[in-house]
Symmetry: C5
Subunit: 294 residues, 5 copies
């Protein structure tokens, strides 16, 4: 069975193959579109599939943060031929094709299609785990040191989860299509395997939903911690004011050019007044403490 | 009827049984996966089921808080054999199997499957009750003493509820499958019992939804209490300022090196001024009180 | 036609009746469960129904607040017998049975079942009206006097609405079951009446949804009023500061032990300075007023 | 064809008509209920419909604000008779019947039913437009002058939109019923017209959804403007404090009864110190400005 | 095949064509309505379609901001005629018709209908891209310089996205109708092309949903930045108070007319006290720094 492994959808060999195997022009156009989405389309005599395996690419600025990168892989699986189009420089597409390559050309195209899809779905698990790690990390940081850039990291992860979720939803629909479609290329024997893939993708989607919930929790913690900090600042300000108040009021009173103030002429006046001022301050602080302020 | 009670999915006896009873390799793989999810899969000549009974494990740091722990139990129920795989050190799986064990080997596998599922669903009720207690406790605490760690407890419970909800949703789907599937192992006589289990799980899910609502209320109360406290702090600051103002302003005025201030030369000047200052302070406090400030 | 009116599901007579009329053990178990939920279950030769009529019980602490209380009523309606189980000390179940009792034993059980359900649904209307009154009352209070205990009342009502909603949803499903089920005990002539009950319950559910919306509005008003009050407090603080500022600054300046201050030696210095201080204060207040502060 | 135009559902003539045309007692009861909801019910030999045309009634306190008022209209449309019950003092029901009246008695009842429904749906458009105007007005006000009573207006409109939405949803379902019901009184020729009505109501519902979205935006703007104002107040307070600080601190220093202060004995001391104080204030204000505070 | 290209729905030629080709009066009325919505309606012998191509119109006040403008285009596609009604002064409708015009009159009307719809859907992509740019721009601005007018821009975009979303949802439904309707004008050969259009619109709708999510994120960032700024202002106020406190308290103390203050009579008293004051201030600032305040 011939297996054509193209590296670029714009390769003129694709046009020849399209003529030879009577591929639908819309599928060729799809394969050549930059931003194609995951899908499976069952034609009269072959199945066209687009998948998007993922790999993690470390952020050049922050090596501990990796962003998921999707590289499309196009597959035309007929009864007696297989055409795959994938960028050979992407680790994810290479890995996706390798297992199928090991099984070689003697397998049926539908088996190869299944093997490729299975490997691709397995690649999503480490990506999800990386999101779990990042969110755990965020949760720890937001509790110990909430700062505005946390917000930016939350929204970066949110954006990536939106993308990942869309790819997974489409992959789930694609595997459902392979399962349910009456003209599906997958025969009855391999249906349980495709159903198994479907279950895996459904579980991945569950995890993504949980991660979205957890991210929203992190956002709530952040916002409430800002409110809490304002509260703390206000308290410090009020305690400062409380400490200063007796000193200012009493020293103001004894600064008046009036007669008849107590201890005004006593040689130890300053000491008596200092003692009285400190007493007032302690009393006020004690009152605040009883009101459970600090 | 033989009942094989394995304690570990990696037991090589499972491979022998798989050969003997022609078990599907995907089911064996599922049973050996660490993080399998609840499901029922009806094969040609047997039914494969994964359930997740729950038990509460006290938090080592805080003994009053228990977290729900799920331990998987795998069941292969054929017409004339039953294979169960469960960790014997978990109280929940042990309890789930015990009732079926009491009824012994002379029962039909489908009856045993039903008994196990019924016991497992009964185990969820105390877990839900424990959540109820914890949320009631949270609500009391958030009203009397709102502190930032409340937030962390809210989100811990939220996370556990997300997990519990997913297990319950899958258990509900599994019991629906046992009920609706045309090839279901459960015969017509026992269908009402499975429907009863379905109703119980649906009721549990209802409770989980209510608990999520109540948790969100607790969060709202917490956030509004933070806003309220800021408000209170501001009021105390303002009242302090109000008390200090007359003393500071009047003592400032009499501290000026100017001539012509009233009572400047009176021997009882200090007393008059003190009286006037106290009067101003009382007047200001009265005004604030009339504006319903304290 | 015999009508057995039991007062307690644990009455041993129920066991005799179960034997006599061949009642399903699951239904007996359901009737004896403390927290059973509303449902209709059509068996082979009779219909089992659980309803939950409501009555309002005044709060002992606050007589103007009544909480809805649900008392279950169990009904076994066969072709030639009727069994009802209801606590005779509850006003709601008593009222629900009274109308059916008036029509007496000569009616068909299905007619009695319909009459009981109809009366029960009518009992929900005053409960909903009471919620309307309480929410209107809350809305008035939250605008005139927002205080933290409002929050608690909002969440109490929310919780009660969650319970009421669940009972209504189940009652709606039960009446749909009585309408749609091919083996329904209700004959074609009475179907329009059951459809009418269904419409009433649907309308009640609409009202509950509206009330939940209105409660959320009340919560928003409360939270924004807290923010507004903080705002007001801040303004008063700032205005106080504004009034104090000129007095403090000018009196401070004239308190300096320096030479060359204007009017320092004038016999009317104090008057000039007082006039100047008041002028500055008025100017500042005027500026704040122009910035639309009070 | 006889057309009975009743003005009150309690008119005893309705009982006579009910007997004559064999109207279902539930329909009569519905017509006599105060708070009936929009519906279409196809009986054996006639169709019973309740619609709720709307008209705008100006608020007596604020003439620019009009609230939507719904007046029910009941219709019994048989093959050879038409009964309408509508309050003749309401402008909306009068308008709804007028067009049908112009076409006169020689039309088929189903045509008249269609004409009435069409007019009623047309009456919703100006109501929706009025909501648009009020929301636009709110948006302008909330940006220029956010005040707490805005909140009350937002929630009044929200409440009215909830009511309007419910009427529209029921009207949409009623027109769907007229379209889909196999026993519908509307014949195939007029089906496109009913579908057209359905499209109009769907469009109205779309608008209501958009208006709810816009109202929520207005609420967000209001809440954020409160937070912004608190912010502004805080800034003014801080700027006031900044202006006062140098004057207070320096005048305090020169008020000390100490020796060795610079310029203490200079005849132009006050001038030097005043200059220095103003310099400090300007410097502080400049620093705040550089931090983009005002 | 005749192709009538009208420029205005009120053109009397439309009435002639309606008579000639037996067009339904409701369709004519629809075409003449100002605010018609996107739809496809399959009649007995022709298909009536309304589409709404979009073009971007720069905001006269702010040239970098363009708002999407929708211009309706009405199409009557029969087996042997085509009528299009479109404003010739709109760039979008002109572009939508141009490609079909190039293919000329010799094509089948259904092919022309497809070509027009395809071009219209292609026109939505740059509009979506422009939204992407504006939201990216907003996100940058909200982080560097959050100001209240950001809020207004967020809500303007929200409003436009609501409109765009509604047009897209209707366009998706219209293309689904062209695909599924048994009497569809599109033949089997062209069905894959219509399905392709459907996929494109679904992808556009996905993007709009993502953009709504991102806008909500921007709103959250804005609101939290307001809270953060209040926090910052409070901190500056507290730091100012901290700096002022020692100077005010100590100078107040030495302003008292008392005897017995240390260094009162020392010739270098001022210097000692100045040194002590500065020491206190530095100590307080150091404490604040250790509490991680700045």
């Amino acid at each position: 069975m011939p297996w054509y492994q193209l590296e670029d959808a714009n390769d003129p060999r694709l046009d020849e193959l399209a003529k030879q195997y009577n591929l639908h022009p819309l599928h060729i156009e799809d394969a050549r579109t930059a931003d194609e989405s995951v899908k499976v389309d069952t034609g009269a005599h072959y199945t066209f599939a687009v998948f998007k395996p993922v790999h993690l690419e470390p952020d050049p600025d922050e090596p501990s943060e990796s962003a998921p990168v999707f590289t499309p892989i196009d597959i035309f699986a007929g009864k007696d031929f297989l055409i795959t189009i994938a960028n050979p420089h992407s680790t994810s597409t290479t890995e996706a094709l390798e297992r199928a390559r090991r099984d070689g050309d003697d397998e049926h195209p539908s088996k190869l299609l299944y093997l490729i899809l299975d490997t691709i779905v397995d690649l999503y698990f480490p990506a999800i785990d990386h999101f779990d790690d990042r969110i755990d990390d965020l949760e720890d940081t937001v509790l110990t040191n909430p700062s505005p850039e946390i917000l930016q990291r939350i929204f970066t992860i949110k954006r990536e989860l939106i993308d990942l979720r869309r790819v997974l939803v489409n992959t789930r629909d694609a595997s459902l299509h392979l399962q349910r479609d009456p003209g599906s290329i997958i025969d009855a024997d391999h249906q349980p395997y495709v159903r198994d893939i479907y279950d895996h993708v459904a579980r991945l989607l569950d995890s993504v939903e949980t991660q979205r919930d957890l991210l929203n929790n992190t956002l709530d913690i952040y916002l409430s911690s800002v409110a809490n900090r304002t509260n703390e600042v206000m308290k410090v300000l009020t305690i400062l004011g409380t400490i200063a108040l007796p000193a200012l009021a009493i020293s103001g009173i004894y600064g008046m050019n009036l007669k008849g103030l107590p201890f005004q002429d006593s040689p130890h006046g300053a000491e008596y007044i200092a003692f009285f001022t400190i007493l007032c301050t302690i009393l006020l602080l004690y009152l605040l403490r009883r009101m459970k302020w600090f």
